[in-house]
């Protein structure tokens, strides 16, 4: 089974905060509301270290692949930040 969920992962807490702010702006919600929504849904987020337990829990539940969903293709800087963080998980 694979899961597709939002991806806000970053190498540092400050970059993560910027990406969350952008993700919230794109969805027209507050950062607080988005954080709470994703936390409830079990979305991995934060630095790779912070997100690792959530990914491990999915793996234990039989999830073999996680589709990191990114909404804004034109946000090149954000994609660069995400890829830098994700490459450490691969």
């Amino acid at each position: 089974m694979s899961v597709m969920g939002p991806a806000v992962l970053a190498g540092t807490a400050s970059v993560f905060a910027k990406l969350m702010a952008e993700a919230a702006r794109f969805r027209n919600v507050t950062v607080e509301a988005l954080t709470e929504r994703w936390r409830t849904a079990g979305v991995p987020m934060g630095t790779p270290e912070q997100a690792a337990p959530a990914f491990a829990a999915y793996e234990q539940a039989g999830v073999s692949k996680y589709y990191l969903q990114w909404l804004d293709l034109t946000d090149h800087r954000g994609i660069d930040e995400l890829m830098a963080a994700v490459s450490s998980l691969v």
């Binding site: 089974m1 079990g42 073999s64 692949k65």
Partner: protein, 218 residues
């Protein structure tokens, strides 16, 4: 855990934005690059690209990363077109294409483009027949359904298109996936529900990603 990068080009972006993201995905070592298949978004129209056509370009740009359409609505294209496009991408990528299919759900998109949008019940019936059609097409079989039929010998047969059924429903979608596909995908909050469901798998095979354990195929 494998990771894939999933993009939503219907929210805006050129082919060059898509290509840039795909090449970064390959550089980062992710297993696949995925995109949605929509022409429109309910919040308003944005410049976007066609899924199969854009992947024809990416097939030539990437060398090892799989490409996945997640998912193509069976309301958009006849299964003959889906099958032929998938077989072509399979050849162009040397067997690195994953085909996700679903019922289609965004009524506003269909209405805006004048694409027929049958009832929920009919869309599921069409999805099941489309999956049967695609399976038949990939293996040189014939198929006769209420909505679709084929006795064409579609060549070349793909080497390794992985079929995936996407959706968030807890009943029909897992059953269709277990019966006709190699894998499934769902949302973060739904995976535990899917795990608990008993799914009957007509193919009685272990799906490649162990989505539906063999014990559930009885």
């Amino acid at each position: 855990m494998q990771f894939s990068f999933m993009t939503e080009p219907q929210l805006g972006g050129t082919y060059h934005d898509l290509s840039r993201a795909a090449r970064l995905t390959e550089q980062a070592g992710l297993v696949s690059f995925a995109r949605a298949d929509h022409y429109y978004w309910a919040a308003g129209p944005k410049p976007t690209t066609d899924a199969f056509t854009s992947f024809g370009g990416l097939a030539r740009e990437l060398g090892k990363t799989r490409l996945a359409i997640l998912v193509t609505p069976i309301t958009f294209r006849h299964p003959a077109v889906i099958s032929k496009s998938a077989a072509t991408l399979d050849e162009m990528t040397d067997g690195r294409f994953d085909l996700g299919v679903g019922t289609g759900w965004m009524e506003a998109e269909h209405r805006a483009f004048g694409i027929p949008f049958p009832s929920w019940k009919e869309r599921f019936a069409r999805l099941e027949e489309a999956l049967q059609y695609i399976r038949a097409s990939f293996s040189g079989q014939t198929f006769e359904g209420n909505y679709y039929r084929t006795d064409a010998e579609a060549l070349p047969q793909p080497r390794q298109v992985r079929v995936m059924v996407g959706g968030s429903g807890p009943d029909r979608t897992p059953r269709l996936a277990g019966t006709y596909a190699e894998s499934t995908t769902t949302l973060p909050s739904h995976h535990q529900i899917w795990r608990r469901r008993s799914t009957r798998c007509a193919r009685r095979q272990q799906p490649q990603d162990a989505t539906l354990p063999r014990s559930r195929c009885r």
